[in-house]
Symmetry: C2
Subunit: 151 residues, 2 copies
DNA sequence: CTCTAATAGTTTAACATCGAATCTTTTGCA
DNA sequence: TGCAAAAGATTCGATGTTAAACTATTAGAG
């Protein structure tokens, strides 16, 4: 996009950066998802299980906020995980509007089994950059992501 | 994810970087897509039109490669753009397997109208980073994306 | 030349994704 | 206290997305 667009230099630089950011994230994500397909999990399913694995039971809204997804989306993803017996829904007693999601023992076992491999696989992908480069990339992404989501 | 995972320091750094990259790209993309919804375009629809606008007629395979999407996906996206009369399919005469996609005059007019605003909007989002930071982010993303997609 | 392998697109099934509408429960305030 | 507004979740409709199976066409080896 950027390279074919005639416009102010500032704009070209920004578009160029945008395109590279989206593409890099896309490539990384796609690679990880392909690996997760071996255990019949999608990226969002893994993200959901991972949140529950490391943070304990969460409400649907909390999971949606963590993964930056809509509530309607989470309903569907949780349905699919529930069908496979990896998570369970439980209506909250204090606030009956809310639903607590927790891992079943199968869900927990699955994560215990696959999380280390997945984490290592992701790390391998990122190690195409040096540790120092990773720190810089992380910092820039953090700054940008924060600024965009706050405005 | 990274912050709750106990593991080698190298792995934590890599996971942390990965998460920030995905989130930043997600936030940026989501913001742009919300803006495009004003003209009833999705992100991929805009990407397709933009490629045709700046590069001229392309085959479906070429568009898919450019956008990093599957062929099946493009079939659907092009169907929707065709329904709206923004693009047209034309069977190639030299190679009858191939189909050339080109913008209709409406499609061209639409892009003429909306591309400058969209480009400016994207630039505004990226300008949460200084020009120098944009260059560095772009370079790191380029290096990472290239390395990942080549292995 | 002819058959086979490769290539370009489409179709299909399963899942993801959003936004808007809806339903239930809770909360705030008059 | 009673009711309107807000909040949590689901449903619905449209679109995106992939991988795998399938169709049509072309190209290449023998």
């Amino acid at each position: 996009m950027a390279t074919h667009h005639k416009g102010p230099v500032k704009e070209i630089r920004a578009l160029d950066c945008y395109i590279k950011l989206i593409r890099a994230a896309d490539s990384a994500m796609a690679k990880v998802c392909r690996r997760l397909a071996d255990v019949r999990l999608t990226g969002t399913q893994f993200g959901t299980l991972e949140a529950l694995y490391h943070l304990g039971p969460l409400s649907i809204g909390q999971i949606a906020a963590k993964l930056l997804k809509s509530g309607g989306n989470l309903t569907m993803v949780l349905d699919n995980l529930e069908k496979r017996g990896l998570i369970a829904r439980e209506r909250s007693t204090e606030d009956r509007r809310s639903i607590k999601i927790h891992l079943t023992s199968e869900g927990h076992q699955l994560m215990q089994h696959i999380f280390p491999h997945t984490a290592q696989f992701i790390a391998e992908q990122m190690e195409h950059l040096t540790p120092n480069e990773q720190d810089r990339l992380g910092a820039l992404c953090r700054k940008l992501g924060k600024a965009i989501s706050e405005t």
